[in-house]
Amino acid sequence: MSNVLEIRNLTKKFGDFIAVDNMSLAVREGEIFGFLGANGAGKSTTINMISSLLRNTKGEIILLGKNIAKSAKFAKSNIGVVPQDLAIYEDMTAYENVSFFAGLYGLRGAQLKERTVEALEFVGLGDKHKAYPKNFSGGMKRRLNIACAIAHRPKLIIMDEPTVGIDPQSRNYILNSVRKLNDMGCTIIYTSHYMEEVEEICTRIAIVDHGKIIAEGTKEQLKAIITDTKDIWIGIKSEDEIKVEPLKQIPGVASVRVEEHMVMINSKAEVNNLNLIIQQLIRDRAEIRSVEEQAPNLETVFLTLTGRNLRD
């Protein structure tokens, strides 16, 4: 497979701050490429440089074999951007929104009409083409946000957190749309805070931290990096009484996360500390409902490599 996108020694500085530090990567044709990083890791800056929204300080971005610095119009014509924040006009109908943005890519007349209808139908808004987005649900707005980016049939689609703040039904619709776009031949760069989404749809993933790619590969390859840890998930009735610090003092425990009815502990694989963990929880008067030992997932990989959660 040829590379749709190549990034070579890409650097972006804002004054003295280095947002992207000598980054290199390649996205192959037909991939859904996951781009993971906590806030401030340099992920959005990289995406903005690929989309020509920001100029790079150093390095090269090659899209479909052409340097985007020298062929900006060509690059822009072949990229579709789905911004994290909704980028639609509330005072224009769904049809007018898609038609306007598609028109910026040179589409006119019957072709513009056809592609606009096609994009709206693709995201399931064909019957809402005359409606104004101000009357849409969050999920419908997200879908329109996608339609505005795909009507010109780009080769590369960059989706920045396309499922933020929407209901599970719309989320599933969008994830299926991403798969369908990929099946239709689009290469996709996908960023999300939802690790399970990335794990579900991405064929290859890069983890970014402090402006650098610290790991890259398929999810299996990434998980293989972490062989010396295990995840222990303990179901509890209430998390109110749980004290995190004593749990962290238990030998082998690397991190503790408490969420709704669940204590998630990452620990060294060779240390048998389950009894000590259970005893501590009982001392905290926790009512234990289940105990499960899991193989490392992407969340664990991310935590181990960066030392922080994706949502930090």
């Binding site: 020509s52 924040d85 980028a87 910026l104």
Partner: protein, 374 residues
């Protein structure tokens, strides 16, 4: 073509915005009606004089004068001046002080004594003038009678000829703006300047709606976006301005003169100036600050330019400072075109508007080029 595509989008959005109709159409039309009606007297070139009541007392000391006086009183009755003899227990001067009469006159052996009212100076002056003329003619007749009675008859005959009390003589007396005419021009130039407010959100609005990302990511140059937005804004604002012109012309019968093309050119240059100021300020100041500054600027320019009432038409400080208001430039030029047929008056206004507009557009272009995104 992309520029036109962007311009059409701008026009569509502006025409759907209720605020456009409220601020750019309803607001000026209502103000023309209210201010034009309420302040109509302030713009009238003539004064309506009511009945002039004069109190007089003939002491009888000069029978000859008394005889002529009675003739005079009868003669001026038709001129809306009514002479009433002083009644018993009446004090002539007190009656004038109480504003019951505009003047009090005493006819005695020393001639005619006149007491005028300081409250009704115009009416008082008219009566005084009439009495002076009467006294001079009486003296002339009395003197002539002694030497040439025939000539005296001729003087008397001439005195009885009908004559006007006030004759108006003024330059361009019948070609001056009435209140509706004044406010039609003033409100139109005011809303032309209001275009600065919508223009201040042309680019800033795209940023706040995040659509600037899509515009920047599309294969469209900043210049195309910039020009498309300016064309859209110019079209919308000029359409609103022309709507007010036509409405005031046909609904309120406001006088827009015979050189509408030149008037529209002045208005177009003012709309361009407003759009340029709005855009320029939106790059000079961040966020809502830009909108606030544009708002303050338009209000000050409106006030100083005489949008609410005529201001600074003399050599005072206000007169000097009002010359800095673009509304003033436009109002002066348009009024000269309408009322003096001075087409050349448009040139200084158009020239100033274009110079300032290009300066602000240059600020916007330089700032835009410096920014990585829009």
């Amino acid at each position: 073509m992309t520029t036109i595509h962007i311009a059409i989008k701008e026009i569509k959005q502006a025409l759907r915005d209720r605020r456009t109709f409220l601020f750019m159409l309803a607001f000026p039309i209502v103000l023309i009606l209210i201010l034009g009606t309420a302040l109509s007297n302030a713009f009238s070139g003539s004064i309506e004089l009511g009945e002039m009541k004069v109190l007089y007392k003939d002491t009888g000391a000069s029978p000859a004068l008394g005889g002529y006086w009675d003739g005079f009183v009868k003669a001026v009755e038709g001129e809306n001046v009514h002479f009433t003899p002083l009644g018993k227990d009446m004090n002539g001067q007190e009656e004038v002080k109480s504003d019951n009469y505009v003047a009090y006159v005493e006819i005695g052996d020393e001639g005619i004594r006149f007491y005028g009212s300081t409250r009704n100076t115009i009416e008082g002056n008219i009566v005084q003038g009439m009495l002076t003329t009467f006294a001079q003619r009486y003296n002339l007749v009395a003197a002539t009678m002694k030497t040439d009675p025939v000539a005296a008859q001729a003087v008397l005959a001439n005195a009885s000829a009908p004559h006007d009390i006030v004759k108006e003589t003024a330059l361009q007396a019948d070609k001056a703006p009435g209140s509706i005419d004044y406010y039609a021009v003033a409100m139109t130039t005011m809303i032309a300047m209001y275009g600065a407010m919508s223009a201040s959100t042309l680019i800033r609005g795209e940023r706040s709606r995040n659509t600037a990302i899509r515009l920047s990511a599309a294969p469209v140059s900043k210049a195309e976006i910039f020009v498309g937005k300016i064309i859209g804004s110019l079209f919308t604002n000029l359409a609103c301005v022309l709507a007010v012109v036509l409405f005031s012309k046909y609904a309120f019968k406001a006088d827009w003169g015979y050189h509408m093309g030149m008037v529209i050119l002045v208005l177009l240059s003012e709309v361009l100036l407003a759009v340029a100021i709005g855009l320029g300020l939106s790059y000079l100041f961040k966020g809502e600050t830009a909108r606030s500054i544009v708002m303050i600027f338009t209000q000050l320019a409106s006030f100083l330019g005489g949008a609410y009432f005529p201001i600074g038409q003399d050599e005072s400080f206000m007169g000097w400072i009002s010359d800095f208001s673009p509304l003033r430039w436009a109002n002066v030029a348009i009024n000269k075109i309408i009322y003096s047929n001075e087409l050349g008056a448009a040139l200084p206004a158009i020239g100033l508007n274009l110079i300032v507009a290009f300066a602000f557009l240059a600020i916007a272009i330089i700032s835009m080029r410096r920014r990585e995104a829009l």
